[in-house]
């Protein structure tokens, strides 16, 4: 959990501390850590989301703002805690309920159908942005040190592949990963 210290405070362009904490906790259930392989936390998906949402239109920003509020309202109702404070098991249960679009019905919480739809939309949006933040070019703020690409064996931004590399069974993890910045650097060097 990123602590609410000065170092993280200056990092967020758009998100508030609570929003960052909550969204980060959701991302970490989509691509969890703890198995020795990079997840959403190690690839800094939350950085990607913060920067992306900052540049986005009002509808999307509202979806994050209202989604975080609704999610924490729901978990407070159910367990008396914010989403980020729940155990992993409870977090997953909450997300499963949202995905099944049944959170409102089963809790009987005084929320309208808009809230029901809002949480489903919010989770779908965080899912999209988590995938993007895991596998984007690092220039967007996620996929830190290309850890997301490393995880799945994607060599990233390449100029091309040769016949040997294109043979069935070739281990793509033997190809050095490149980012767009690496390509730019190569061209600058070629120009010198």
């Amino acid at each position: 959990m990123p602590a609410a210290n000065e170092a993280t405070k200056v990092r967020w362009v758009f998100l508030t501390e609570t929003e960052a904490e909550t969204v980060d906790a959701v991302c970490a259930r989509i691509f969890p850590s703890g198995d020795g392989k990079p997840g959403a936390r190690e690839t800094k998906v939350i950085n990607y989301i913060d920067r992306t949402v900052a540049d986005e239109d009002e509808a999307l920003r509202r979806c994050y703002r209202d989604g975080v509020t609704a999610l924490n309202a729901l978990t407070s109702e159910l367990y008396g805690q914010r989403f980020a404070e729940l155990s992993d098991e409870r977090k997953d249960q909450v997300l499963e309920r949202i995905e099944a679009n049944s959170a409102v019905e089963s809790t009987g919480a005084p929320q309208g159908p808009e809230d029901e739809g809002l949480l489903a939309t919010f989770f779908a949006l965080v899912w999209e942005h988590t995938i993007q933040g895991m596998f984007c070019d690092p220039q967007y703020g996620g996929n830190h040190e290309a850890l997301g690409w490393q995880l799945v064996g994607f060599p990233g931004a390449q100029w091309g592949y040769n016949a040997e590399q294109m043979r069935p069974g070739f281990d793509s993890k033997t190809i050095p990963i490149k980012t767009l910045e690496d390509l730019r650097r190569e061209l600058r060097r070629a120009d010198d």
Binding site: Q158, P168, D171
Partner: protein, 565 residues
């Protein structure tokens, strides 16, 4: 004072680029209007960017600026394309209208380059001969083409040799070559370039298909396998379909026709210029020019007695309707598209699906067109069936997961990190049939920011579409099993989207001005001097991809225009 141009071309995509090149080479000064931007060299060079091109769909028109609505039937209220609308993150960027800016759809396309078969031009007659005159339902508006394969053969040849297509011929002047497509209609000569190197999983696909008795061959591709004219040999980077090409291996009108036209000195391009009205004389029978908005929304009017509208089947018909050019009520009718049948397999060894273009692939054509076997499932017309061994980046891959699997959590992480490198696709595409029920018109409510009416699509998947999807799903499953796939699944059927970037038919060509919009040269029956070209001219859609045929039609139109001026 009103500006005058010798000729105006609206849209510099696959068709408009070709016509602009032919006219300017003949000495005609052409003003081209394109509503998109000119893409910079920087964008082409550093296109290895899935967020920009896939997630954010930066090449294609967005609904906020280019609204399109859809409804399944006349009883329903049309909404902004529901599969692409809503907060970003729930969109399908490749199920919007195709790329804009000089290059048009050939900026983003995968480069599947097909001639239609002879039978495609006679679909209606062949279906009725084989299955009976009541095989097509009462709402069918299917007709045979007013031209045949032999009429287009020289123009197909020009596409292949002037623009550049790689492949292996299967039938040169009637002499079969088992290495090429055994079902292709006879051609005068082969391709100017040999086939591409195939992506890793293709060998396994091809071998399995051969064991099953099919006759696979390599996909003809508008991607250069060697340096050819303005094209450079492909480097197999894998960022192809949906992306710009950093080596100019992918044939795009931006680098072939448009570049050649610019070199004549006779082409002026105005990008970010949005045509909104086709102007006519008092009788309405003659074109007099085009009115357009510039990037700031200022209105401009250019006079010309030769106007070529080439901005895709959808925008072409929208522009005609918004201009009131629809005396016989046929504009927007006969909307057709492909329903895609995407299947995915997981292979026992690494397939590395991120390498090579989409079209570095093999094709089974045994079940296409009238070659679809006799069946009890109501399938009247077949489909091309293709391996998709390459061009799959991780973000796109995460959007196509086995049904029933939870899309998040440790299980998802394990599955995706284990299997991304073992994926491949098998694809077919079912051509929808023209029907009274499926059409485009102007949305009565939704307008763009300039106050221009949005196009409204009324379309649903038919019984035949569903039957054909089911039929081919079984075929693909059998191939996957023969390949030794450890997993196989299909995208949901029928597809949620109703745009495939293969929309055609909405300004049908025909000899009878009462039941068609343009003649075989693309000239409007109603308004002389106005040419409306592209896939919108097609009387029927083939199981093959439409681009090479609409490119051939563009050469035909250009020849005709030059004979007249």
């Amino acid at each position: 004072m009103t500006e005058t141009a010798e000729a105006i071309v609206v849209g510099l995509g696959a068709s408009g680029g070709i016509i602009a090149e032919q006219l300017t080479k003949a000495g005609i000064r052409v003003l081209a209007l394109d509503k998109g931007p000119v893409h910079t060299t920087e964008e082409f060079t550093f296109k290895q960017d899935e967020v920009k091109y896939y997630s954010r769909g930066s090449l294609v028109p967005q609904l906020a600026t280019d609204p399109v609505t859809w409804r399944p039937d006349e009883k329903s209220t049309a909404r902004l394309l529901p599969w692409a609308a809503g907060v970003r993150g729930n969109s399908e960027p490749l199920h919007l209208p195709p790329s804009i800016g000089p290059g048009g759809g050939t900026l983003h396309w995968g480069g599947a380059s097909w001639r239609h078969r002879d039978s495609d031009f006679r679909m209606k007659s062949l279906i009725e001969e084989r299955f009976g005159s009541d095989a097509l339902d009462e709402d069918s508006t299917m007709v045979d083409w007013p031209i045949g394969y032999e009429d287009l053969e020289p123009y197909y040849d020009r596409v292949e040799w002037e623009l550049g297509v790689s492949g292996r011929a299967g039938n040169i002047k009637g002499a079969p070559d088992p290495e090429g497509n055994p079902y292709e209609s006879p051609r005068e000569r082969g391709f100017p370039m040999p086939p591409l190197r195939t992506a890793a999983a293709d060998d396994r696909f091809k071998a399995a298909c051969q064991r099953l008795g099919y006759r696979p061959f390599q996909q003809p591709a508008a991607v250069a396998s060697t340096d050819y004219k303005s094209l450079k040999g492909c480097e197999y980077c894998g960022f192809c379909h949906g992306f710009l090409c950093h080596v100019n291996a992918k044939q795009s009108s931006r680098i072939t026709s448009v570049e050649a036209a610019l070199q004549t000195g006779n082409l002026e391009i105005r990008s970010n210029s949005r045509a909104f009205r086709l102007d006519r004389d008092a009788s309405g029978r003659r074109i007099t020019g085009v009115s357009y908005f510039d990037a700031e929304g200022n209105v401009h009017q250019v006079r010309s007695n030769l106007v070529v509208v080439a901005c895709y089947a959808l925008e072409n018909s929208r522009l005609l309707l918004a201009s009131g050019i629809n005396a016989n009520g046929q504009v927007g009718r006969n909307f057709m598209t492909h329903s895609f049948g995407w299947c995915s397999v997981v292979l026992p060894e690494f397939s590395n699906p991120f390498m090579a273009p989409l079209v570095a692939a093999s094709v089974v054509d045994d079940l296409n067109c009238d070659g679809v076997p006799d069946n009890n499932e109501g399938v009247l017309w077949g489909s091309v069936l293709t391996s998709i061994p390459g061009d799959l980046q991780p973000i796109e891959a995460a959007h196509n997961l086995p049904p029933g699997m939870r899309r998040w959590g440790q299980g998802f992480k394990d599955w995706f990190s284990e299997n991304y490198r073992r994926l491949m696709g098998i694809h077919n595409q079912v051509p929808s049939f023209p029907s009274k029920k499926y059409y485009c018109d102007l949305d009565p409510v939704v307008k763009d920011k300039f106050g221009q009416p949005a196009l409204r699509i009324t379309h649903d998947w038919s019984e035949h579409d569903l039957a054909a999807l089911r039929y081919f799903e079984k075929v693909k499953r059998a191939i996957a099993e023969e390949m030794g796939a450890t997993q196989f699944w299909s995208e949901p059927t029928p597809p949620a989207y109703h745009l495939s970037t293969h929309e055609v038919g909405t300004h049908r060509m025909g000899e009878n001005p009462a039941d068609s919009v343009v003649d075989i040269f693309g000239e409007s029956h109603e308004c002389k001097g106005l040419y409306v070209v592209g896939g919108g001219q097609f009387p029927t859609l083939s199981g093959y991809n439409p681009t090479q045929t609409l490119q051939a039609l563009a050469y035909l139109s250009a020849d005709h225009i030059l004979e007249k001026v």
